[in-house]
Symmetry: C2
Subunit: 402 residues, 2 copies
């Protein structure tokens, strides 16, 4: 599997000079530090759906595989809330863990990097190379912090579109993603239908439900109630400390919503962490130790302000907003779509993917709908690669045979 | 409906002098302030399951209806985490809201106060009259605060047993409750089988699942991470302020787990609180306003340290602990049991009540199991009185006809 610096196997300047805008408004950045990806920068103001303006934006991305002659084999993979551009490949400097879809992306895998040119970019508002709250505001020379304007999924997708153009691509063979990634997939279908030949939105929703908004809201409260959040101005705190407790708590809450009783029962049961403290107020069960671990792990790799912005972007996700409603938007989809549910997903319950399927089919479009029987809950979209792989592979086969 | 001071219609000293312990260790307290209930006090040390000792305990209770001649018509109603002894009756001084089971308890209602003598006591560890962390420790003259020893459901039930004795009762016609109340019901069956003629544990579990422990744990974290919690020493804080933000957040989290997508969809949809701030980071959807409201409401009536102690007591709930396991305990139940599930309850899912049913029946006991079709989620045990009422009434009819 090609897992090196994408510049080693994909150099947009060398291969696609025609794609470079004459204005020179774009420049190709170097790989960020030791991270194995590149950035592109749009130096023109980027006006956001909500009215905010970013004077320039960087989009970090990683690629795998090789673009073919007619540029028809590009696949865009979209990441979820705390994901990043490292969708595949091993851990290493700049990558605290293996690619989050490592089982699906690679040579001979469902998203076969021997056949496809695969791109994954860090979302706008993120904290892994793309412009977000922790980035330097060129107008002030300091991090944006809480002045970073609220972005939406549509803004995130528009930035991806600009990346696509920069990479010299006219269309994606497929746009694929789960959870917040699936929201982006659906927005690709609504915003750029002529630039996507197929869509695979998994374990996602056409619009965020009030239950999902509720979860996001309490997670944001957990961060904002941490006094070390300091209204978002913590990057230069004298004690060097940010809202790590609040962010960890936010993650612990979300981690429960990602999993199921069945998984926790099998994994932890009622095992206690230390039997000597079983009856003490702060004695812990093993499941608490697990949640603490996930909280701490996120703190080490994620920025709290990015969590706030992206969590709110998910709440604002509504494919039908300003477009005449969900039925009209999804009913107009004419590219093949595959959506999939995880049976035990309580955060993005199957009825939400069934709605996507139904509204596309009702409008005369073509949508395949698969229900993956799994106890894994929402995290099934990351874990059930054995079930999801063949489904995604078949969409890609279809999308290349037109 | 009789809703006055229980002393007006039930005076244990006058009616049941034989039941008063000769030692005089018990005294009957006056109604607390303007609250319409009485307290009893055990002035002997109360040794807890976890090893802690309380030098004395008060148990606040409220009663409705009249005890019959042969003292066979007493029903104990057990409240849930943030409930209290005011299970029935209207709001008024000391009662910020109507009784939490007002639709089920009263003249002619399912738990008919024309026929039954109904008792509900505030749990040990609570904050509505019974001894809890906010009570004065007689050994220090100050509130217990974080030194209040961790109680378990078994401790709570043992205190209820002492109340029963104090009231001159030999047995309950039935012990009834949902959620944490249902945990108490089950412990009555295990600890005092000869003193209960029937049990009605609703929307509860034989032991807390790791998923439930996870939810409790993040709610406790929300409180303990509030700097105004002050490690539990906030009662005499110079600024007069306790961990209201943390307690509110804990409640918002739990409030979501009590409800369902279906209810939120119907009630809130994607309505925003103020369209002018829709795209702002801290703009709110209506569902957020609802959650904030519930958080603030709890802060006004509940003590954060009680929340911590009772939440942990629920986590420690395991009917099988030290008794050879759940199957052995439930398999030994010989009193009639009725358990009920709310179909949409994600916090106490139906499989938990089905387990209670199965283990009782497998052991040769008699358990009726009803599934209440409802979109209300866990709160269905409070809201679905039309469905639960006839079920409970039939158990009471059965329990009085032996």
């Amino acid at each position: 599997m090609t897992d090196g610096n994408p510049a080693l196997h994909f150099d947009p300047d060398r291969r696609f000079p025609a794609a470079l805008p004459a204005s020179g408004a774009w420049r190709v950045g170097d790989p960020v530090g030791k991270r194995k990806f590149a950035t592109v920068c749009c130096e023109r103001p980027f006006v956001l759906e909500g009215g905010g303006v970013l004077p320039q934006i960087d989009i970090a991305y990683e690629t795998w595989g090789t673009l073919n002659e007619d540029r028809s084999n590009a696949v865009l993979v979209c990441h979820a809330l705390t994901g990043d551009a490292h969708a595949a490949g091993s851990m290493g400097p700049g990558h605290p863990s293996d690619g989050w879809w490592n089982n699906l992306i690679g040579p001979g895998k469902a998203i076969d990097t021997d056949r496809f040119f695969v791109v994954c970019s860090n979302v706008l508002g993120g904290c892994q190379g793309s412009t977000g709250p922790s980035s330097i505001n060129p107008e002030t020379g300091s991090p944006y912090g809480p002045t970073f304007p609220q972005v939406t999924i549509r803004d995130i997708v528009r930035a991806q579109y600009m990346l696509m153009e920069k990479l010299g691509l006219g269309a994606w063979c497929s746009v694929v993603g789960g959870s917040m990634g699936g929201m982006q997939v659906l927005e690709w279908g609504a915003m750029y239908p002529r630039h996507v030949r197929s869509l695979v939105p998994v374990a996602t929703a056409a619009s965020a439900s009030p239950m999902q908004v509720g979860w996001s809201a309490v997670e944001r409260l957990a961060i904002s109630q941490d006094p070390k959040w300091r209204d978002g101005w913590y990057y230069d705190a004298a004690d060097g400390d940010g809202p790590s407790q609040g962010l960890a708590l936010a993650r612990e809450i979300s981690q429960i919503t990602y999993r199921t009783s069945e998984v926790f029962d099998a994994r932890f049961g009622r095992e206690v962490y230390d039997p000597r403290t079983e009856f003490e107020q702060w004695g812990r069960f093993q499941v608490e130790s697990y949640l603490d671990h996930h909280g701490q792990k996120l703190v080490r790799r994620f920025d709290a302000n990015s969590f706030l912005v992206l969590s709110k972007a998910m709440d604002l996700h509504d494919l039908g907003r300003g477009r005449g409603g969900l039925a009209k938007v999804l009913g107009s989809f004419r590219m093949p779509v595959l959506t999939a549910s995880i049976t035990s997903d309580v955060l993005y319950p199957p009825y939400q993917q069934a709605e996507i399927y139904k509204l596309i089919e009702d409008g005369g479009g073509s949508c395949a709908y698969h229900i993956v029987e799994s106890p894994q809950g929402h995290d099934g979209f990351l874990l059930e690669s054995a079930a999801l792989g063949p489904l995604i592979a078949s969409v890609l086969r279809q999308a290349t045979s037109f």
